[in-house]
């Protein structure tokens, strides 16, 4: 969902928190403590990637425009750190008895930055024209229509029953904003010039974009949350490389950096000064993983045992420890372990076991030849994160140790996307995924036949599909009973881990680094995409 990250962000590839970070995170409690908020001041923020292509991209456009636009626009709902859903621009929503429609009660007294009231018309327009066509097109496949029966209710209808968790997640989706109809109606939303100076309802008003440098946002004095925001100005600054960000933070020029702003060794150095805290909180709804995919178009992978052997040959603990400095943990399932709703530990495990890998390959009819090799594969490590290349070296070594010859390539971002997702020009690949808690469609589309979309990045590139999994995902889509739905998703995890077409090697822990002066941060499960209405700066 948030996979279209910037080319430059590869340099920021520094992740997570683990053993090393335990002490650092312990300290972060102080930053989250509630003091008496102080009014005024300017906060300068950055993130571990580059400048966006536009301030707001209706289809999402990756983490960078999500970061810049989420301070200006707001969503109907949000998820709390405890996992509950609560209204933002909506006051509440509830399903009809057949779960084929949902009624949303809209918050009153909310104004856009240009002074016009936000009404149900804006919500109807946003859902019908922006979400359906751009922001949530992959999720809204069974969307039937949206209408406003009265001036504070919006009803969304579907062709099939829709689970409540799915619908609530939709309202909190990364770029599922309420946009002003009077600005977007009648134009092509993708090319509307307003995308570079958005008019939203958020706590921050767009003031200026100095390209190559920063965005300047000012306080929205008419914001619907009383007395908020506390700060006068919010600056989002872009610095190309992690070392530069670390230096700017040390100099006091940048107060907070989200999504791995600095290299792992610098995290320790910065927090060691006592002037910074680092936390892995705020990424619960946007967990990143490094995945390993096998290309089913290669007949060698027709046998499931061969696919499993690939995973048994890779030392995931070594990857977590050396490549990510402990800021990662071995992945076991396509649903990531922080996912409280759907994760299960009861899956087929492929933990590092070279002997088992060799035995599986022998049994599958691939004995070692005279040269010590069983067969040779092309391994593509996507070069958008520097870490992927290093993982490529570890995977190569692991597979070569069980007699699989490996030709490793580490192409740059555009070539990697083309070779993995358009040309399917790889035997095995190392890529990345970022998924929210709701598995449909972000996670499931990697395993279904309708997820095989040539040319669309971050979909089913392995080519794996079975009628069984397709049918199961259809059931997950329409099952409205939470307990039954969880059982189906558990089933999904058991099948996919057994089949091994595409599984996470490691789950990454993203890190936010902030000055100890910054208060009320990292208090949203997808903090990069939160509105930051309650952040403030202590003197």
């Amino acid at each position: 969902m948030t996979n279209g990250f910037s080319r430059r962000s590869f340099a920021a590839g520094a992740f997570g928190a683990g053993a090393l970070a335990a002490g650092i995170i312990g300290k972060s409690g102080a930053s989250l403590a509630q003091g008496t908020p102080k009014r005024g001041g300017t906060l300068v923020a950055t993130w571990g990637g580059g400048e966006p292509q536009a301030c707001y991209v209706p289809a999402g456009g990756g983490s960078s425009p999500t970061f810049s636009s989420s301070k200006l626009f707001e969503r109907l709902g949000r998820r709390t750190m405890e996992g509950a859903f609560e209204g933002e621009l909506a006051e509440a929503w509830k399903p009809a008895a057949d779960f084929k429609s949902y009624a949303i009660k809209i918050r009153k007294g909310v104004k856009f930055h240009d002074g016009k009231d936000m009404t149900v018309d804006d919500v109807v327009y946003s859902i019908g024209e922006i979400w359906k066509k751009y922001a949530a097109a992959a999720a809204l496949t069974d969307f039937a229509g949206v209408e406003a029966p009265d001036s504070d209710t919006v009803v969304v209808t579907f062709n099939k029953p829709v689970p409540e968790f799915f619908f609530s997640s939709l309202l909190c989706g990364n770029v599922n904003y309420v946009v002003p109809k009077h600005v977007y109606a009648g134009s092509d939303p993708v090319t509307n010039p307003a995308n570079n100076s958005p008019t939203g309802t958020g706590p921050w008003k767009f003031k200026e974009w100095v390209r190559g440098s920063h965005f300047e946002y000012v306080r929205n004095d008419a914001y619907w949350r009383k007395d908020m925001p506390y700060l006068d100005r919010l600056i989002i600054r872009y610095v190309r490389d992690p070392a530069g960000r670390a230096a700017a933070m040390e100099a006091g020029d940048i107060h907070i950096g989200v999504f791995n702003p600095v290299a792992p060794p610098d995290i320790k150095r910065l927090t060691g000064t006592g002037k910074f805290v680092a936390t892995s909180k705020g990424y619960e709804e946007s967990v990143w993983s490094t995945s390993f995919e096998v290309n089913m178009r290669n007949p060698i992978f027709a046998k499931r045992e061969v696919r499993q052997a690939m995973f048994f040959a890779i030392d995931r603990n070594l990857i977590a420890k050396t490549v990510y400095y402990g800021y990662a943990r071995p992945g076991t399932s396509p649903i990531f372990s922080p996912n409280k709703e759907f994760f299960t530990a009861d899956t087929f495990k492929t933990a590092f076991d070279p002997k088992k890998a060799a035995a599986l390959l022998d049994a599958a009819g691939h004995p070692k030849q005279k040269d010590g090799k069983r067969f040779t594969l092309n391994l593509l490590a996507a070069g958008w994160f520097a870490e992927n290349g290093k993982i490529g070296a570890i995977v190569k070594q692991g597979l070569e140790d069980v007699g699989v010859g490996i030709n490793l390539t580490v192409p740059d971002r555009p070539s990697s996307i083309k070779r993995i997702y358009t040309d399917y020009d790889f035997d095995v690949a190392i890529s990345n995924q970022a998924n929210p808690s709701e598995p449909v469609p972000s996670t499931t589309q990697y395993y279904t036949s309708d997820g095989i979309k040539k040319g669309v990045p971050f979909r089913n590139a392995s080519g794996f599909h079975t009628p069984e999994v397709d049918a199961l995902v259809e059931k997950i889509k329409v099952e409205t009973d939470p307990a039954k739905r969880k059982a189906l998703v558990v089933e999904f995890q058991k099948i996919t881990t057994l089949e091994c077409p595409n599984l996470p090697l490691v789950e990454l822990e993203s890190i936010t680094v902030a000055s100890t002066r910054v208060q009320n941060h990292s208090n949203d499960p997808n903090y990069l995409a939160a509105s930051w209405h309650d952040i403030w700066l202590a003197s």
């Binding site: 070392a243 060794p265 490549v323 070296a393 490793l408 390539t409 740059d412």
Partner: protein, 284 residues
């Protein structure tokens, strides 16, 4: 025949008179020896993870130069890297020399519209920033050792072509060439048998400098992460260590010094060759 012969002992003496060149040659000989003996000294794959990551030089006697961010032996990678780096330098220089001499000889010998076309093309190549050109070719062709060699050869031939052309322009109307023409020798025979041997000395000097340039290009390509990931080269080691420059700077510094020394030595050898081969400076 008409070839301006330099007696062999005199060549060596002149080369050795340049102390810097002598030191350079000795060091390059040592580097080459290491490269040749690499599989004997370190029989295992240099890219294997063999120890704890980020061990400082001297911290563990098993790894005298320490280990990199993944726990690979830096000494083993430096030794095997010498092989890759020298191989790339020599092959790229050979490619550039082959292209450059061929084109320069044709342009210089025939002159006229052939010269115009060839030299304008060369200028076209010269106007494109070299490093960006190399990166573009590598990205299009793919990051393998052979493609990197070809890419460096393609951007490095122009100076050799210009030098060869200038030599040919100076030599093509000399008496011995006219004598050959009068005897009815063909163009090919004159170019290859008569003019080229006399035009070669400055070209050889230039080629030795192209080797140094090629090593730098390969280092830059690998540093940017576009090198061949299956090969241990010095530039790649510098690139891998970049993220850790504030904490474990030795990962960048060790291969960096190796690159610097090698390139410096190649330049010194180039100077020495110039002294020994350039007839204009013979009795300086």
């Amino acid at each position: 025949m008409a070839r301006i012969e330099i007696p062999r002992f005199e060549f060596v003496a002149r080369f050795a008179r340049n102390r810097g060149a002598l030191v350079g040659a000795v060091l390059i000989f040592l580097v080459a020896l290491t490269a040749v003996l690499a599989p004997v000294l370190f029989p295992t794959d240099p890219l294997r993870i063999v120890g704890a990551p980020e061990l400082w030089p001297g911290e563990d006697p098993d790894f005298p130069l320490g280990t990199d961010s993944l726990g690979r032996d830096i000494l083993s990678m430096i030794v095997h890297g010498a092989r890759a780096t020298l191989l790339i330098g020599l092959c790229a220089s050979a490619v550039a020399t082959l292209i450059g001499v061929t084109i320069g000889a044709i342009a210089g010998y025939f002159g006229g519209w052939v010269d115009e076309i060839v030299m304008r093309t060369a200028e076209l190549f010269q106007t494109i920033p070299n490093l960006i050109f190399v990166l573009t070719i590598v990205v299009i062709l793919g990051s393998t050792l052979a493609n990197i060699v070809i890419a460096i050869g393609i951007v490095s031939w122009t100076s050799i072509a210009r030098m060869t052309r200038a030599e040919f322009l100076a030599l093509r109307d000399r008496e011995f060439v006219q004598a050959c023409r009068a005897m009815g020798m063909g163009n090919g025979g004159i170019i290859l048998g008569e003019i080229l041997p006399n035009a070669l000395p400055p070209v050889i000097v230039l080629s030795s400098l192209v080797v140094a340039g090629a090593i730098l290009f390969e280092s830059a390509v690998s540093f940017l992460g576009l090198g061949d990931p299956n090969v241990a080269s010095w530039g790649r080691l510098v690139g891998d260590g970049r993220q850790l420059i504030r904490s474990s700077w030795y990962i960048c510094a060790i291969p960096g010094v190796a690159i610097m020394v090698t390139v410096l030595c190649l330049n010194l050898i180039g100077d020495g060759l110039n002294d020994a081969l350039n007839p204009k400076l013979r009795d300086r």
